[in-house]
């Protein structure tokens, strides 16, 4: 795509968001208000700024990444607006903030290139682990930084210094996952040869040396620890799966996939017998209608929404996705399925597929090992997260309450994912001839 074409598709995505908002308003009240114009403006400014920042600080970056991201954000925003206009107003602010943060990341990487990420890998690891552990802070102490438990999971941090009338809430895991991928990519780039060459033949399998498995075991332990202390099934699975995929990408050893899969099953079974909330999740997954009153309610409502959406959907503002609990965050995909139908969900999947293709394309073309692994790892994180939550909504895998990248309501997720896109853009700039 040329610069002009990329700018044009960004405007088209902004128009899509505004058009969707208009349709919702039209369906609900038959009137038009300033919301459509405001939405168009915010999208055009946010993604336009990201586009200009890319042209300025990473001019040779791939021109194929921002447009599909903008389109997904637009479709997600339409459903958020439809479900809760007040939250949509907040999400618009978050979009502007996220674009500003992503632009700043592009500027910082322009000053120091992605090499600074590699150089400060241990600092980044430390910060990420601290971020991950922040929600474990007590909820009732005098310090302005507190942990918060929502829906039985401890994922949130509240910053309330008493200076502002409102408190600031964020999900540190959304940023920590980026830091962990950066660290793992740097670690694997350092030890690639040792990992690739040391093998032990056990029957038909080529297994890595036990010593080389150590990092795998450490992240496994970390993700199990998160699962236990924060009851966050999604983040721990996301972390572990992305890491196993990265190990596979770095070494080409299928043994990692096998052992990673076995370890996931092991942790899953242990978790099933140890925690009642894992049992409830599995019950809701396997028998949603038998557990309709309880664990299966959300999944059942999601399935009803997808089913009633049929081929082309009820139309924006004309379905009842508000019946699904947490429709704007975990179940945004079901809301899209109800109002835009099968056609809408396929378009969403196609856009995710295109983003994965571009991300892996950047990894393939990279010649530097660290940048190659970093691009692959960031793409894996996006892909695994998308798969886990859409698979959960469609009842393919147990439901893990994580957000759908770019589409779900949530400020920290939007900031984290746009920063991820900014790093990918920077890598493609550095690897361009």
């Amino acid at each position: 795509m040329t610069r002009k074409a990329e700018g044009f598709t960004i405007l088209l995505a902004s128009a899509l968001a505004a058009f969707g908002v208009t349709l919702v308003n039209f369906a609900n009240s038959g009137t038009l208000d300033a919301q459509s114009a405001l939405t168009f403006l915010v999208f055009a400014i946010a993604f336009g700024a990201l586009f200009v920042a890319t042209q300025t600080w990473a001019p040779r970056a791939s021109s194929l990444l921002i447009a599909p991201v903008a389109a997904l954000t637009a479709i997600g925003f339409l459903e958020i607006y439809r479900l809760d206009p007040a939250r949509a107003g907040l999400q618009r602010w978050w979009l502007l903030i996220a674009a500003a943060v992503a632009g700043s990341v592009l500027y910082l990487l322009h000053l120091g290139s992605t090499e600074i990420l590699r150089r400060y890998r241990y600092t980044i690891l430390l910060v990420s682990v601290i971020l991950l552990l922040l929600p474990n802070l007590p909820s009732d102490w005098g310090f302005p930084l507190r942990g918060l438990e929502v829906n039985g999971s401890r994922l949130w941090v509240v910053f309330d210094a008493g200076l502002t009338p409102f408190s600031l809430q964020f999900q540190p895991a959304e940023l920590a996952k980026l830091g962990l991928v950066i660290f793992v990519a740097a670690y694997l780039a350092d030890h690639q040869h040792a990992l690739r060459q040391a093998h032990r033949q056990v029957g038909p399998f080529r297994l890595p040396e036990p010593r080389q498995l150590l990092p795998l075991l450490i992240t496994w332990g970390l993700s199990v620890f998160i699962l236990i202390s924060q009851r966050d099934l999604g983040a721990s699975l996301l972390l572990f799966a992305s890491f196993v995929l990265l190990l596979y990408a770095a070494t080409g050893g299928g043994g990692y996939l096998v052992s990673g899969g076995l370890m996931t099953l092991l942790a899953g079974f242990a978790g099933y017998y140890a925690f009642d909330h894992v049992q409830r999740r599995v019950a809701g997954w396997l028998q949603p209608f038998e557990n309709f009153e309880d664990a299966g309610y959300q999944i059942s409502q999601g399935l009803f929404a997808l089913g009633s959406g049929s081929l082309s959907g009820a139309g924006p503002g004309l379905g009842r996705p508000d019946l699904i609990p947490n429709a704007a965050t975990d179940f945004i995909f079901a809301a899209v399925g109800e109002e835009l139908g099968f056609a809408g969900t396929v378009a969403v999947l196609a856009l995710y597929g295109l983003i994965m293709a571009v991300g892996l394309g950047i990894a393939f073309r990279s010649r530097d090992t660290f940048r190659k692994l970093l691009a692959a790892g960031l793409t894996f994180v996006l892909g695994v997260q998308t798969f886990l939550i859409i698979g959960g909504v469609l009842r393919l895998v147990p439901l893990t309450g994580i957000t759908l990248p770019f589409m779900s309501y949530g400020g920290s997720a939007l900031v984290g994912n746009l920063v991820l896109v900014a790093i990918l853009l920077r890598i493609s700039h550095e690897e361009a001839k």
Partner: protein, 136 residues
């Protein structure tokens, strides 16, 4: 009446979404198409047609490639008459460009010693010492 308009607008909205997906997909496809074409393009490979130890070896030049006797070179030339860093091949739009890197015994294209950067065409022969390569 408004129902009809709404239904129409709804279809238009979905149509726009697909228009968008199609446009992005086409852009990505053409991007991949270019790189595939480049790999298959003629005149970017060298086949060793005469060599004591490397006969039949094919050298794929995708960017800048240095050939020489040194193990530091991108492609090893196993020939006692080759210099440590003998020549550099650059893949460009109109074919490979050969630069002799001041080698002791010289590089010969179609039997003529190279003194300036030379663009290679398909079928040209490149000789270093006793090794002969053909551009494919």
């Amino acid at each position: 009446m408004p129902d009809v308009i709404l239904a129409l607008l709804r279809i238009i909205f979905l149509g726009l979404v697909y228009l968008f997906v199609w446009q992005v997909a086409r852009a990505i496809g053409s991007h991949l198409g270019i790189s595939l074409k480049r790999e298959r393009r003629e005149g970017t490979r060298l086949l060793m047609v005469r060599s004591e130890t490397q006969q039949g070896t094919e050298i794929e030049v995708s960017d800048a490639t240095v050939l020489g006797r040194s193990s530091e070179a991108d492609v090893l030339l196993d020939d006692p008459y080759a210099s440590e860093f003998h020549m550099r091949l650059l893949a460009q739009e109109n074919g490979l460009v050969l630069h002799d890197l001041g080698s002791t015994n010289g590089t010969y294209v179609n039997g003529r010693r190279v003194t300036a950067p030379t663009t290679l065409r398909r079928g040209d022969s490149v000789q270093v010492g006793k090794t002969v390569m053909e551009v494919r």
